[in-house]
Amino acid sequence: MSEKTINVSDAIHDALVEEMRRDPSVVIVGESIQRATSFGITRGLLTEFGYNRVWDTPIAENAIAGLALGAALTGLRPVPIIMIGDFIPYAMEIICNEIAKYRYMFGGNFKVPITIRVGAQGAGAGLAAQHSQCLEAWFIHVPGLKVVYASTPYDAKGLLKASIRDDNPVLFFEHKFLGSITGTIPTEDYTVPIGVADVKREGEDVTIVAWAFMMHKALNAATELEKEGISVEVIDPRTLYPLDKETILQSVKKTGRLIIAEEAPKTGGIGAEISAMVNEEGFDSLDAPIMRVAAPHTPIPYSAALEKLWIPNVKDIINAAKKIVT
């Protein structure tokens, strides 16, 4: 199998293009994706696939989700795009009350093959409280949805393809600072299965679960900690629902210690769920409290001086690890 080097943004772009070529029922719809785009991911799609497959909408996120649902129920496989993660509150009704429940409430009579690309989450670009959030935690609490969040080009491409081919609704989250991160991927078609975590680094003393941009901070922290004699295992769940519990539990069995690192405010985050799950199902493995490295309970400030204090960073992960590995 031959390989190539690519960044996350291009990997996502390529996955979209390849799936649109493979399956004529894949259509994409969102704000400002035809003429130009802020994040480059939809570039060239209009030229290749034309106006019947690439649709610009008015600024109405609930409508983007609703168009997708209507289309998914009638033979298409839409990829609606929420330009920036923070805009998803507008689409909560369709996503959580209609898309998530359609199959169940109507007795399995329908399939809902939708991949909602939620773009550009995350702080650090000086975009203030309403353009910087990571909101994935809300969605693991909504039965009927799958939640995917890749951190590498390999995972992003493979998981986006798997999401589009999945007959269930999937939220595919993206992070502002992942786009330029590079890695190698096969040149051939491949998918990464939904619901399977990946051990990004093996270690003995402490397990760190982290996804998206935090996963890279966790790897950096692991490198630093190594120097101080602390061996870190880094697990990227890649799918937040359904969670690959087994991989996490096995790792904690080995290390006895767990840190969950996430960019969102700590309270009510994904870290809470992972912590609670490990406590419930792997209590006897634990040699120390499970630590959550996460953001403080404040909206995200604009000022660069404050924003950098808000974002959980490598140092925070290192400190947490040192605290529980003693």
Partner: protein, 321 residues
Amino acid sequence: MVQESIERDILIKMYKLMVTSRFWDNNIDDMHAKKQMIGMSPHSGQGQEAIGVGGCLALKEEDYMVPSHRGCAHAITKGLSLKRLTAEYLGKGTGISKGKGGAHICNPKHNILGVSGIIGGALLIATGVGWSIKIRKTKQVVMDFFGDGMASQSDFYPALNISAAWKLPVIWVCENNRVQQFTHFEDVMGMENIADMGKPFGMPSIIVDGNDVMAVFNAAQKAVNRARKGEGPSLIECKTYRWRPHYEGAPETRTVEELEEMKKKCPIKRLRSYLIENKVITEKEANKIEENIMVEIKDAAKFALESPWPKPEELYEDVYV
């Protein structure tokens, strides 16, 4: 308005379907009162039967339809069986949604999309169906029924806007009974008519007497033809009356006199008189039709009552494919 002539068998179908809808509503209310039906109180469609029937008779088998939350006229006209409908209301495993939806019925075989319990989202789902038809180039249309209250939800605007901007084959049918649960139209709505909302978008927007099934049918046919030709959406506002409270057992905010006045405009009596006066059917035939329908309704009720409950393990099924 001069009625365009409607074929005899369609007229008779109209009568049968409206009577079926009325009797079914009556019967489910009864079953609910007797606690044979447990769950969400029925939202009776009594008085509004002409709209679902007249509208859906203008559709072909392959066309899509999104029913409103009120009554069963739309669904039975589009082909949903009374047995599976009744069983669903009773929460039985033989229901069209296997008992998981209750009043949230559907029927993909007849391209009946689901009834959402949420006032609003269905407008966007219907827009999406229209969009999908346009993409798939199938010459189908989609007809969406909704109340005046749903027409006050924010989603109504992008639904109208997008369907107009992209000339989608959607027929918007508003059942304006001027009540929205316990709120009256004039207290919260800034426009005179819902039909006015179609005008900024240049879409044909007409007001019809929603108690006149023939008028609804004719308006729907025009809109369907237009949509099928790719000329875009239409908005049909049907002025009508809700006879029952919002749901069975709900408080009533209108006066007894008002309600009496409404009932004088019964769409079924009106069609019946027309059919008899115009010798489409005789009084005796009409009675016979009603008798037969009553038998069907009772059969459906029996089927539903005797049907098994869903099995415990079904709780976990149908969440994901």
